[in-house]
């Protein structure tokens, strides 16, 4: 049964067994840069490190945040 999650505030439907790794890399197109990972991922405000992505299941109602570096003061 498909599930509905939000990614950076936008609603998205996913197949039942999709994990975080597939979402990040295949569906959304985020990829590691030459100098490493340039973004950080949290589900429901809890960080998921890169090595956890493959084994992180996504559940209906999950809120995924993907943050990258910006300039700041």
């Amino acid at each position: 049964m498909p599930k509905t999650i939000t990614v950076n505030g936008l609603t998205r439907e996913l197949p039942e067994h999709e994990n975080l790794l597939k979402l990040i890399n295949d569906d959304l197109g985020y990829a590691a840069q030459d100098n490493g990972i340039s973004f950080v991922v949290a589900i429901n405000a809890e960080i998921r490190s890169v090595h956890q992505w493959k084994n992180t299941a996504l559940h209906d109602g999950d809120c995924v945040d993907i943050l990258g570096a910006i300039t700041g003061g």
Partner: protein, 273 residues
């Protein structure tokens, strides 16, 4: 005071290479930003983090430039929690910043008023306590309230960063009396003026008061010649620090001649007649 005989700035057992700290925002291009950073090598450069699409992550010129340069400079990266209005928001963002930027340093910002961008000092102290517990080196952006600054030190912050004036105003040191009081009452705590500086002379004045460093962004980034302005601030910071160490004279209420009056010819001859 956080200094030794060679006047190094030490915070949380780390040497900070410069007393001028710069923000990375609002530059007209990554190249202009990098020119400024290279010319003064600030002690810290501040950055932040926001939601980004895959395209934004892949095409992030500013961050890409910064990343490459930071690897070959003595400047440290200082993520901020800009945009947070509660302790819990700031804590979450700080944790994500630590993961993204691989540093324990955090410029803790918790805003309490959208109009003035005044820090929410109550939430700030709560957030600082928790982040210190989690191993962060917390540099809190605060008001110049002595009791709040003392609470931040008691919470374990290795330095405190009171504002000179509201962010982006360029008004300089609005309350020198209070800032002097902070310096006197917190003699062993590194104090950094964060926000409100518009001119190098204001940075110099902060350093003359005995502040340990200054952090600014707008005044450099928005200058028609950012690199020259960064260098001017650097000179002001160094001059102010040197003056503070040399010993700035006490102000007096009455005039006092610099040149001796002893031996003055014709001294009040008319009165003698």
């Amino acid at each position: 005071m956080a200094e030794n005989v060679t006047d190094k700035l030490i915070i949380a057992d780390e040497e900070i290479s410069s007393r001028l700290w710069l923000g990375s925002a609002m530059y007209s291009s990554p190249e202009v930003m990098l020119d400024c950073l290279k010319s003064v090598e600030p002690g810290f450069v501040t950055v932040s983090l926001r939601r980004q699409t895959a395209h934004q992550v892949a095409d992030n010129g500013y961050w890409s430039y910064l990343q490459d340069w930071l690897q070959q400079s003595n400047t440290k990266i200082l993520p901020n929690t800009s945009g947070c209005f509660t302790a819990s928001e700031a804590i979450r963002l700080a944790v994500m910043a630590r993961e993204l930027f691989s540093t324990e340093w955090i410029k803790l910002e918790v805003i309490g008023d959208e109009y003035t961008l005044q820090p929410h000092t109550l939430e700030l102290v709560d957030a600082a306590k928790e982040l210190v517990t989690q191993g962060f080196k917390v540099l809190p952006y605060s008001t110049d309230d002595l009791v709040v600054c003392e609470a931040l030190v008691d919470a374990g912050c290795p330095a405190v960063m009171p504002w000179g004036a509201p962010i982006g105003t360029g008004k300089g040191l609005l309350n020198p009396y209070q800032l002097s009081t902070l310096r006197k009452r917190l003699p062993d705590t590194p104090l950094i003026i964060d926000a409100g500086l518009g001119r190098p002379s204001q940075a110099m004045a902060a350093m003359e008061l005995g502040f340990d460093a200054v952090l600014l962004n707008t005044a450099v980034a928005k200058s028609p010649d950012p690199k020259a302005m960064a260098e001017s601030f650097d000179a002001g910071v160094k001059g102010g620090r040197q003056a503070y160490r040399a010993g700035v004279m006490e102000e007096r209420q009455t005039a006092s001649p610099s040149t001796s009056i002893a031996g003055m010819p014709f001294w009040r001859q008319e009165a003698i007649k």
